[in-house]
Structure formats: structure tokens, C-alpha cells
């Protein structure tokens, strides 16, 4: 089979990252050019990958429609319509019904049903005006013979209008106008009353429409659902969705019916889940449902309460059977929710489903499962779960620790806990973390001798490799420091030194520090610690301690942090090194280049270290002798105002002035200075310099005239 290079590349991109939307779009474009038989495979993959993206479903369906495979289209709609509340998809559905069913005798009923169905599901959408308007137009177009039928038609049209006019959406005004006209057309007297009754609700809905429009404006509602990637764009979308949902929760319609509110909120959640299905929004949605359900219960509406609670359950069900298939968090939340409803069978199935997932770490699942069975069915059942866990190959040592501690804390049976630890020791004897948990347990029992025996057993056994035994030695030393006498302490210390001879060579003082330190307290300042090389010996041997005791880690790292912080901000950028440059003070220069006579006097805002020696060669300054300049000012005679204005307005004169070219210019400057001197101190004259006007400034000229 020939596959173009372009497509092969796209396919390989999709293979690398199955959520590469750009590549998928390329594939879609390609598939659209092929007949459906050939493209169907691609489309199927697409909708499996993005099951919540209405646009992709729509493209697929439209492609099938082109080839008139109506049976296939029907099946596709069955697969997506109920789950994907996307306005585009629903519009597509309505046009499909219109197109295919128009020949049938039951067309009118079918179509009306379809419209009712659509309005029920997606009528709340902000863009749903078209559906409402189409429905009304459809109803108006139905033939009605006889006054009874006509009345029925009026009732039907009126019903749709009345529902639509209180439904916040874009273009609601249009619908209202049409409705008013419609009522006027039937009976002007009744119309007034009818409309007056509804005006308040309509105005309310119109207000909410505006707010809703503002709320949803920046939402990218057509984005395909992809797993979180931590980009800024994504974070923005998440926060916008949260804002929108929060807004709906605050009941913008000011409705008194809890059902209406929860319906609107759930619609918002459903819309959000189409785009953010890989985020744990599922939990929030279910949480909302269950809390509303509780509210209903308090109000005494048991029936709705039960419905909502079932809805929450089915929402969880949808989550774990679709995009959240392997997400532990949602599974646990679902299990706890069902446990709250006393449906223990269900909880068992949920855990079982999670455990059925192959190739994934089931440690935490087993631990949670054990905790649940202990709560719900007692310790015996929990032991059975533990037994199952032991037979599973996918678990890590944590299950043993959890089981042992559960026995110890719940049944207070020290011996059983002890046995479990021993059992685990056979399987996880090489895991220092497991050993530490065991040791901790022993130490807490206050059985000093047993603990010592355990230490000896661990340290002499062959299952623990010597490079991992450092933490155990440290623990042993700490233990002896706390409970032992000096001689046993020294003994452990020297044995430890023997075990790590090469590393502790010449660092016996470091060992002394280990003996005296307590929590994050050290017997000498950090500078000395570093000088002793203490840091190195510790970090190589005890990586875990820094995790358990972050404060000691921060002491060790303290020296480096300040540098890191400064470096972090500029990471990856080259910073100009001003020591390699020379300070420079921009100054006006000789009129080598065309210049304006209005150039300001160089300002003195740079620091004093300006080095004029190094100023680039070709811009040597015309150094002004201030005294001579002042003499010139004193000597020069000012031109009369008329002369000067003439000069400016004629335009030619201004251009030829230059600082170096003599008298006229100096006179010119004199005029300007005197005009600003009249009304200002130094500060404002600086300002007037900064806003040097262009040469042909009649406004300025007039202003100066006025000053005179």
C-alpha cells in the first residue's frame, strides 16, 4: 500500500505522542480527501483517541453522510450524542434527521421529537439560538387544517417561545422580538397580558446572557481533551473553566429551584469535561452532585436526592470507564462515595476493576482496598485482601508495612504484626526503607534487646547490599545513642567505620558529629562542618534522611542557595558584562549629519564617571566655552517678534540653523530661553527642553506671542 511521505511522518508523530493535536489535524485533512471506506479506519482511531471532541465526531459523521451511509451514521450518533454535549454535533444531528426522515409519513413527529430532545440536552448552550429558531420555524410550517389543529399549533409554538425567551443565550433579544410579533399577530389583547407576564423573566435571562457571554468568551470550547502538560495556556483554560463553573454555582438566574441550578451547573461541568476530561474535574463534578443531593435530602425531597446521588455515581462510572481508566485518585474517590452510600458490593467491583489493570503499580490500590475492608467488614476480611496482595507480583513493600501496622494499631496484636514484618523481610530484605520501617516498629515497642538482635540480623545478612546499609548503620548508631551505654555506642561506631573504611578514611571527627547531632542540631557551626568534609560523607550515605528531615538538608545546602536564587532568574541567558564596556554619555555632536537646531543641551543625568577620553573618534564634541557663550548672549540683539514669526512661518529659515553656524541661531536660542524663564524654576525648564517642538510649530509660535 502506498502511503505518502507526509502521512507517514504524521503517523510517526502520532505514534510518538498520541495526543499530538497538530499531527491529528493533518491526518484528518488527509482523510477528508479520501472516500469514507478508506478513511474510516483513521476516523475510528480519532474518535477513540478523542472521544469527547464534538468536532471530530462531526467530521466523521459528515464524511459518512456524504456517502449516504445512513445506518452507519445512526450508529455513530448513538455512540456519541448522549455523551458529547457539543452544539455543533447536535446541530449536525438535527440536520441529519431533517434530511433523512423527510420522506417518512411520521416525519413531523420524528422531527418534533428530535427538536425536543435536542433542546432538553443542549438547549442551555449559549449558542443554541439557532436550534430554538429552527424549531419555531418548523412548527410554524406544519400544516394545520381546522381550528382545533390550528389551536394546537399555536400552543406548541407558544410553548417553545416561552421556554426559549427565559433561556440565557446569545441573540435572546431576537427570539423575544419574534415572540412579541407572533403574539401580536394572534390576538393583540391577550398578547399584552402574555408578554407582560413574561417580561420580567425575559429581562432577567437577557442580563444573564450578557454575563454568560462574558464568562465563556475566552474558553476554547472546541479544544480536544489532552492530558495535562503544565503549559501556561492550559493553566489559563483551567482557571477560566473554574471561574465559569463557580459563576453558575452562584445562581446567576436567581432561581429558587434547586433542580434548575444544579442542571445548569452540571451542564457547565459537562462542557468542561469535554475539554478537560483528563483532569480530575470529574471529582469536583461528582462532589457537587453529592452535596446537592444532601441539600435535597435536608429539604425532604428524597426522590430528587436519590436521582442526584445516582447521577454522581454514574458520573464516576463514566470517568473510570473512559478517560480516567487508570487514574487511582478517581477510583478511590468513587469507592469512598459508594461506601458512603453503603453499597459495598460496588466498592469491591471498583477495586477489582482497578486491580484488573495490567502493568501498573498496585501497591497503593491494595493498601486502600485493605483499609476499606477493615472499615467496612472487619479485620478478617482485610486479612483476606492482604493475602491476595501477597500473591500479586506487582506490589512493593509498602503493603507489608501497612498490613503490619494495621494489625498493631487495630487488633493490638503485636505478634501478628511481627509475623507480617518477618514475612516481608524474606521478600524485601534488600529494601533499606522497608528495613527502617521494621526497625522503627521494633524501637517503638521499647524492646531494646529484640531491636538490637534485629539490627544485627539485618547487618549480618547477605540480602542487603553493603552500599545500601549506610542508613541502617546510622539508625543503629542513633538507637545506641538514645538507649545504649557508652561502650556499646563506641562499639557500633567503630564497626560502622570498619564497614565504610574507604569513605571514612581520615574523617573520624565526622563520625563524632554523627554521635552528638540531634534532629537538626549540630555540635559545631556549618562552616566547620563543611571544612571537616562532613557534608560529603553524609550525603553519600544517607540520601533518605534529607527527605525525612528537610531542615537538616536545608542547613547543608544553605551555603549554595543564595547563589542559586540569583542564578535561577537569569538561567540560560547571557548577561551583558558592563565591566568590559565603557560608560557613555550621549551628547550632541558636530553637524556632520543633518540635524535640527532644537537639539537639547546634553543632560547631566549620568553618573560622574563618564569617560570622555574613550568617546568614539568620529563624534568628537564641539566643546563650548561657557563664558564666551554667555558673552555672545549678552551682546546679541533680539529680533523683533514680527521678524521672527515671519522667519518661522516662511519655513526655510529654521532648517539652516545649526549650533556652529553662528549668530542667528544663538539669537534664536535666546528667545526660547527667555520665554521659559518667565514662569518657571529649573524643573520645568528641563521639562520644556524634553518636549522640544518640531520646527514648524505654529501653535507654539502663537503661544510665545501670547507670553510676550
Amino acid at each position: 500500500d502506498y502511503v505518502p511521505e507526509r502521512i507517514r511522518k504524521l503517523e510517526s508523530r502520532v505514534k510518538d505522542n498520541e495526543f499530538d493535536v497538530d499531527a491529528w489535524n493533518g491526518l484528518i485533512r488527509e482523510a477528508q480527501t479520501h472516500p469514507i471506506e478508506k478513511a474510516r479506519k483513521t476516523f475510528e482511531r480519532l474518535v477513540t483517541q478523542f472521544p469527547t471532541t464534538g468536532r471530530y465526531w462531526r467530521i466523521y459523521i459528515e464524511q459518512e453522510m456524504k456517502s449516504r451511509n445512513y445506518e452507519k451514521v445512526e450508529k455513530l450518533f448513538q455512540r456519541c450524542l448522549m455523551r458529547v454535549l457539543s452544539i455543533d454535533l447536535w446541530k449536525c444531528y438535527l440536520s441529519y434527521v431533517r434530511e433523512t426522515k423527510s420522506g417518512l409519513s411520521s416525519y413531523r413527529e420524528k422531527m418534533a421529537q428530535a427538536y425536543d430532545f435536542a433542546l432538553e440536552k443542549i438547549g442551555m448552550d449559549i449558542m443554541s439560538y439557532q436550534i430554538w429558531a429552527d424549531y419555531v420555524a418548523f412548527l410554524k410550517g406544519v400544516e394545520a387544517v381546522g381550528s382545533y389543529a390550528e389551536n394546537q399549533r399555536i400552543t406548541a409554538v407558544r410553548r417553545v417561545y416561552q421556554r426559549g425567551c427565559v433561556n440565557p443565550m446569545i441573540n435572546i433579544e431576537q427570539l423575544w422580538r419574534e415572540y412579541s410579533q407572533y403574539e401580536q399577530g394572534i390576538n393583540a389583547i391577550i398578547a399584552k397580558k402574555m408578554l407582560d407576564d413574561r417580561t420580567r423573566d425575559y429581562v432577567n435571562a437577557r442580563r444573564v446572557s450578557k454575563e454568560l457571554e462574558a464568562m465563556t468568551r475566552s474558553l476554547q470550547r472546541h479544544n480536544p481533551a489532552t492530558p495535562p502538560c503544565g503549559s501556561a495556556e492550559e493553566a489559563k483554560q483551567v482557571s477560566l473553566w473554574k471561574k465559569y463553573i463557580e459563576w453558575e454555582k452562584n445562581n446567576p438566574l436567581r432561581s429558587e429551584s434547586l433542580t434548575v441550578i444544579s442542571k445548569r451547573v452540571m451542564f457547565a461541568y459537562e462542557q468542561c469535561l469535554l475539554c478537560l476530561g483528563h483532569h480530575p474535574v470529574w471529582y469536583e463534578a461528582a462532589q457537587y452532585l453529592s452535596s446537592t443531593s444532601k441539600l435535597m435530602q435536608e429539604k425532604g425531597d428524597t426522590n430528587s436526592s436519590k436521582i442526584l446521588s445516582d447521577e454522581a455515581s454514574s458520573l464516576y462510572e463514566r470517568a473510570i470507564s473512559s478517560l480516567m481508566k487508570s487514574n487511582m485518585l478517581i477510583h478511590f474517590a468513587y469507592a469512598d462515595f459508594e461506601e458512603g452510600r453503603m453499597k459495598h458490593d460496588k466498592v469491591h467491583t471498583i477495586y477489582q476493576r482497578m486491580l484488573d489493570i495490567k502493568d501498573c503499580d498496585q501497591t497503593l490500590t491494595f493498601i486502600q482496598y485493605m483499609k476499606f475492608t477493615r472499615r467496612a467488614e472487619g479485620i478478617k476480611a482485610a486479612r483476606l485482601v492482604f493475602k491476595k496482595a501477597r500473591e500479586d507480583t506487582r506490589i512493593r513493600f509498602h503493603v507489608f508495612v501497612a498490613a503490619a501496622l494495621m494489625e498493631y494499631y487495630c487488633t493490638k496484636e503485636k505478634q501478628i504484626a511481627f509475623k507480617i514484618f518477618e514475612l516481608g523481610l524474606k521478600r524485601f530484605g534488600h529494601e533499606p526503607d522497608y528495613l527502617l520501617s521494621y526497625i522503627d516498629y521494633m524501637a517503638h515497642l521499647n524492646e531494646d534487646n529484640n531491636t538490637r538482635v534485629l539490627f544485627e540480623r539485618i547487618l549480618t545478612s547477605t540480602s542487603l547490599s553493603s552500599d545500601k546499609s549506610g542508613t541502617i548503620w546510622d539508625k543503629y548508631l542513633e538507637f545506641e545513642c538514645n538507649v545504649g551505654d557508652l561502650s556499646s555506642l563506641l562499639k557500633v561506631e567503630s564497626r560502622r567505620q570498619d564497614a565504610f573504611k574507604s569513605e571514612y578514611e581520615g574523617k573520624s571527627t565526622c563520625l563524632l558529629i554523627d554521635r552528638y547531632r540531634f534532629l537538626d542540631l549540630y555540635p559545631c557551626p556549618t562552616d566547620i562542618l563543611r571544612a571537616l568534609g562532613y557534608k560529603e560523607s553524609r550525603s553519600s550515605n544517607k540520601p533518605t534522611i534529607s527527605m525525612l528531615n528537610p531542615s537538616s538538608a536545608s542547613v547543608e545546602a544553605a551555603g549554595g542557595t543564595s547563589i542559586d536564587d540569583a542564578g535561577m532568574k537569569k538561567a540560560g541567558f547571557a548577561i551583558p558584562d558592563i565591566s568590559q564596556m565603557i560608560p557613555y554619555k550621549p551628547k550632541l555632536r558636530a553637524s556632520k549629519f543633518p540635524s535640527s537646531p532644537w537639539r537639547g543641551i546634553p543632560c547631566s543625568w549620568t553618573s560622574g564617571d563618564t569617560n570622555e577620553e574613550h568617546a568614539p573618534a568620529e563624534i568628537i564634541q564641539p566643546f563650548v566655552k561657557i563664558d564666551d557663550l554667555m558673552d555672545k548672549f549678552a551682546d546679541c540683539s533680539l529680533p523683533s517678534e514680527e521678524d521672527w514669526l515671519k522667519q518661522v512661518n516662511s519655513g526655510g529659515g529654521g532648517h539652516t540653523f545649526s549650533v556652529s553656524s553662528g549668530q542667528s541661531n544663538l539669537r534664536f536660542a535666546g528667545v526660547k530661553r527667555s520665554s521659559s524663564r518667565g514662569d518657571s524654576d529649573d524643573e520645568s525648564s528641563v521639562n520644556s527642553r524634553s518636549s522640544v517642538p518640531p520646527v514648524h510649530d505654529i501653535y507654539r509660535a502663537r503661544q510665545q506671542k501670547r507670553v510676550k
Partner: protein, 432 residues
Amino acid sequence: MDDIKRRERMYRSIIGQLLNDGYMAIAKSLTAQVKPLNPCTPSEFLFKAFSAGVDQVEQEKLDQSYYPNSIDSVAPGSGIDLEFESDVQILSPEAMQYETCYVTAHKAPTRTATFSKNGQYIATGSVDTSIKILDVERMLVKSILPSDINAMVENTNQGMADHPVVRTLYDHVDEITSIEFHPTQQILVSGSRDYTVKVFDFTKSSAKRASKTIKEVERVRSLSMHPTGDYLLVGTYHPVIRLYDLETFQCFVSCNPADQHKGPINCLSYNPTGNIYASGSKDGAIKIWDGVSNRCVATYPEAHDGYDVCSAVFSRNGKYLLSSGKDSVARLWSLAAPGRPVLVYTGAELSGKQAHQAQAVFNHTEDYVLFPDEQTVSLCCWSARTAERQRLLSLGHQGPARRIAHSPTTAAFITCSEDFRARFWYKSPVSD
């Protein structure tokens, strides 16, 4: 010395390969030109070395390949890099497919515009001394909604709350010639013909005036902000390029006066890491500067056949420099191989020479090069990798387009014109 030897060996193996493959004539003429010390024998060495090299390069590329779901990947694609194969698939739209989304008008010719680094804001500057800051998202919303809804929104006077022009800044007294956004903060720097550079903090919606001013002694023509936002390059009518520390507002220049241009500075731009910047001048030369020491490290004299250099921008990987000049030709320079451009984008000069400056820019994926043609008021577009001409886009301005700026993140650009208007162009990513 090692380099020369290696090069010698390369040519020898080229000749060897040619002989091996039976291209005697070419081998002979090449031998005559290269004049190798020893006679070359037919060998397959070059092919083997090439195969090994290609494998390794591809492996390296794979290692650092592009994952859309990782945090660093900002824009789609990896940008232009001619060292890797040139048949990269182009998914971004060509110029022809863009549509005008929004038009904003100043009271005088509009001559400068820039995008913020995250593509969220656009600033336009005009001869009427005002600067407008536009919100890209709001402009898109305006264009997506049907016009009757727009009218409705404006009638109910909600319009101001989401008007695309988010700020209008008035503090200059002459034409705005250059604008730059701070890379991370809501700060805008503008240069003007009124001899000042002003710093605007537009965090507050009431911002109108500059918070700080640098007084220059020449008309400011070009600005470029260091990628950290701590330093600013200022190019003026005067040939010396100034570097301002934006914290202290002190000014520095290269310690070697001979480094400087001989004419007014037309354009300045830092590369994405800030270790290099480029300048183009009216004297016809492009200079490459070391961003750390501020010394000139390379000069391309007469880069555009002696015409003014009007723009110079780096590619995202910092390996290439795209320049344009008053000869209406855009050139792509490789920093690794100075001296001659690696690609020349021609065709725009056929309609006649331009009188004003114009800029050549990359699109956001660096698949295309865009250049506004002054005579026909249309936008030329080339494939960046092959210099193949694409269809023209008529810009619809009533006067020459004086500035084009492309968004760094999406398929959007803005054009500013002598007809007082700035047009915002966009291509929606949704495939239809």
C-alpha cells in the same frame, strides 16, 4: 591548522567519491580547482562517513525531539534549521490564508508595531504620538462573533469592558519609531523622534504616562530588549549603539570605537538567549555583536548591495539571521558561515524599488518568510527553507505598509500603514 587539514581531507574524499561513482569529469575539474597535494584514489569513504554522520545527527535530533506535552515547547515545530533535512512538513498556513480580523486606526500614519513575547498583546505606535496596546484574544472574539451580536454588545455599553484596545499611552511629542515589550512584566518601552525613550508600566488600566524617561540627544530609531528584560539596546540617528541598564539607566557602549557603524542605526535585535545581537544600519552593513562584552564580532558590509539595511532578526535557535534592505530582497545568513547569505528571497524587487523601510519576518513556526511589498501593497511570502515563492496576500491598506510584526506563538500578524490603520491578521487553526 587542524581545521585546514580536515577540510583538505574532505575535498579529497569528495573527489574520491566522485571517481568511485564514475563522475570523472566533475572529479577532474574539482581536482583542478582544489589542487590536492597527493593524487586522489577512488574510494567510498565519503559515503560511509556520511551514513554514520546522518545516523548520529538523527539520533541526536530524536533525543531532543519535540514533545507537545512538555513545558518548554512554546510554539509548534522546531523552527528553521537547514542542517537537518529540508523536507520538513509544513503545517502552518501560508500568508495567503490569513484574514483580517480587526482594524484599528490612529490619527496619523502608523509606523511601528510589536508583539509581546507570549503573543498576548500587540502595541502599535503612530506619528500622532500615541501608542495603543491591543489584546489579541479580544480582537479574535470580536471577529468570531457575528456582527449583529457585536452591535448588540456595543449598544448595551458593555463594549468598553472588552474593547480590544486595552491601553492608549500618550507621553511622546513626536512620532513613535520603535516599541518593545518586556519579556515577563507588563512593561512597554518606546522610542521616538522626540529624542526620548520612555518606559511605560501598563499594569494599571489607567496607565497613560511613562513611568521613566531616557533622554537621548538623537532621534531614536530602533530598540531591542535583552531577553531578561534588564537591558535595552538603543539605536538612534547617531551611529553609536547604546546599551542601557534598565535598573540604573546608565549607558554603555563598546570599548572599541572602531566597532561602530558609520551611519544611523536602522534595526537592532537580540537573539533568544541574549549572547548575540545584530544591528543593521543606513551605511549598508549588518554587524553581529557579542552580547556579553558588547564588542562587534562580525560585519557583513554591503549586505544588501549597499542599500540601507532595514531589518535583521534571529531565528529561534539563534543559528540564522534574516535581514531585509531597501533593495527589496530578504536574505538569510547563517552565523556559522558568515560572508554570504545561505538563502536569498527574491521577487519583491520586481515591482520597483521601495522608498521606505520594510521588514522581513518569520512566521511563528519559521516555515515562511514574510515581506511587505511597497509598490503593490501586498505581502510577499516565501518558504523559509527553499526560498520558493508562495502566493501574494493583498494587504488592503490605502498606503504602503510600514511595519509588519508576526506573533511568536500563533498564526497572526499585524501590519501598519501610512493610511493611519493597523490591521490584525489571523488564521484560525481549526481545519475546515
